[in-house]
């Protein structure tokens, strides 16, 4: 094998590799967010409170029909540090620091990069909190803004499904069900 043949061979491999990567990037249908907004609303008798976080991580991969979101629960803040600490203890975040959802789109939904606008979507998968996973179907919207996707969803979550005892003392107790909202702007992974 001459030196020029070697060079030709390695050049071929290099171009093949480059071609694979370019091809992959050009047709990627994968969107990701790391600063999505998550909110929960909860109530105790005569009082309600809200917790918020701007650390929602999310991934939507249309090609693989994968929807994956997680939130570091220690970033949830209610505006009252004592209540936050009590909430972290209740959610057992030292052992299970994340709330996670992994699923797929089950409604009639088609994604086209050129088709702008908002579409309703139904996603079904597994929601994990406190290390306990339950099946969950969530309805929301996906809005294609051209350079990004905006996703919105709301659902009601019963925390007792995740073996979490609602905190309380004497005559008051936090309601079992929490209203959860998420909003995130996802950007293409390979652009």
């Amino acid at each position: 094998m001459t030196i020029s043949n070697h060079i030709r061979f390695f050049l071929f491999l290099f171009l093949a590799l480059l071609n694979c990567l370019v091809h992959q990037a050009a047709f990627a249908q994968e969107f990701q967010a790391s600063d999505g907004h998550a909110i929960f609303h909860s109530t105790v008798p005569l009082h309600s409170f809200t917790g918020e976080s701007n650390y929602l991580n999310g991934l939507i991969d249309f090609e693989q029909n994968l929807v994956d979101f997680y939130l570091d629960l220690s970033t949830l803040k209610t505006g009252n540090s004592s209540r936050d600490r009590d909430m972290y203890d209740t959610l057992n975040i030292d052992q299970y620091p994340f709330a996670e959802f992994t699923g797929s789109i089950i409604s009639d939904f088609s994604f086209s990069p050129d088709s702008l606008g908002k579409q309703p979507v139904t996603v079904s998968g597994e929601f994990t909190l406190n290390g306990v996973t339950v099946n969950k179907t969530v309805e929301g919207t996906i809005e294609n803004r051209g350079r990004s996707l905006i996703i919105n969803a709301e659902w009601v979550q019963d925390i007792t499904d995740h073996e979490i005892e609602p905190p309380g003392i004497l005559f008051y107790r936090v309601r079992d069900e929490m209203d959860i909202e998420i909003r995130a702007e996802l950007f293409p992974v390979n652009q």
């Binding site: 991969d61 994956d68 540090s81 209540r83």
Partner: protein, 285 residues
């Protein structure tokens, strides 16, 4: 020659596929990562003040902590004095505001000598989960004025000051604090020293998320007021989520450090201690 190419291809094609799979942007789930990798150790103590001594614990930014402390008479007064509850309680009401997560300002008022105090506390260092900061450190400065009427004192003579450096560490359920402090009293009465020096010790043991035990000891070094002793106290802490209650037994009936150092004359081991309680409530503003 063709064989050589086939061998090379057999070597490089799997490598190429491996490379592609590594550089694949992710057809699997996202890797779970903590938002703040090296978090501060939380809840070293449950309150900003343990009985009489301040802790490194801070009121969070835009939060307000209110505290109501009562300390009654000596328990050894027996049932005739209902174990001290018939005796006049020293009550302190205070509010403590978190200007930032590191800077707190507080104002309080105490029944005995009608003391009004202003306190600032600054968090210099947070203990971290990784151990990059092994301890929490806070600096406190307090200025107090006795506002008792009918006494012929100038405003300056009514003032006293305290500076304290608090160093704490949490190790599992156990938290310890060491706090060297210096007090200056403008009018210490008679031949008593104007300056007092002490080192506060606090131990806090978490039984579970709701209950903990704590104890504190404040020995003085150098000159001291005549007839005074080192104070000792022990408490049961109850965290209800909204409130933290402290039920304590302590020698001193005073509620801030310079007055504890200047006035405590009781000895715990001789049964000279008092029942008291502290109710803490945190508000988000």
């Amino acid at each position: 020659m063709m064989n050589k190419y086939l061998k090379l291809a057999a070597l490089f094609i799997p490598m190429l596929l491996l490379f592609i799979s590594i550089t694949e942007p992710g057809y699997a789930q996202l890797e779970r990562e903590r938002a703040i990798p090296d978090r501060h150790i939380d809840k070293i103590f449950w309150t900003t003040q343990n009985i009489g001594l301040n802790t490194t614990e801070m009121v969070a930014k835009r939060n307000l902590n209110s505290s109501v402390i009562h300390t009654f008479g000596l328990v050894n007064g027996g049932v005739d004095r209902f174990f001290g509850l018939d005796d006049g309680a020293n009550t302190k009401i205070s509010i403590n505001y978190g200007l930032t997560d590191r800077l707190n300002l507080a104002i309080g008022r105490m029944t005995f000598q009608k003391v009004v105090d202003l306190k600032s506390k600054y968090k210099l260092m947070h203990q971290t989960e990784s151990g990059s900061n092994p301890v929490s450190v806070a600096l406190q400065f307090t200025a107090a004025a006795t506002t008792l009427s009918g006494q012929n004192f100038t405003f300056s003579e009514r003032l006293s000051f305290l500076t304290s450096l608090m160093v704490s560490r949490k190790m599992g359920p156990l938290s310890l604090q060491l706090s060297p402090m210096a007090a200056h009293l403008n009018n210490p009465h008679g031949s008593n020293p104007k300056r007092l020096y002490g080192v506060g010790f606090i131990a806090h043991y978490m039984l579970n998320n709701r209950f903990s035990l704590s104890a504190e000891y404040l020995p003085l070094f150098g000159n001291r007021f005549a007839g005074t002793t080192n104070t000792f106290g022990t408490a049961l802490n109850i965290d209800t989520g909204g409130h933290v209650f402290q039920l304590f037994l302590t020698t001193s009936q005073f509620h801030n450090e310079q007055f504890i150092m200047a006035n405590n004359r009781d000895q715990f081991e001789k049964g000279e201690f008092r029942f008291g309680f502290n109710i803490n409530r945190n508000f988000g503003l």
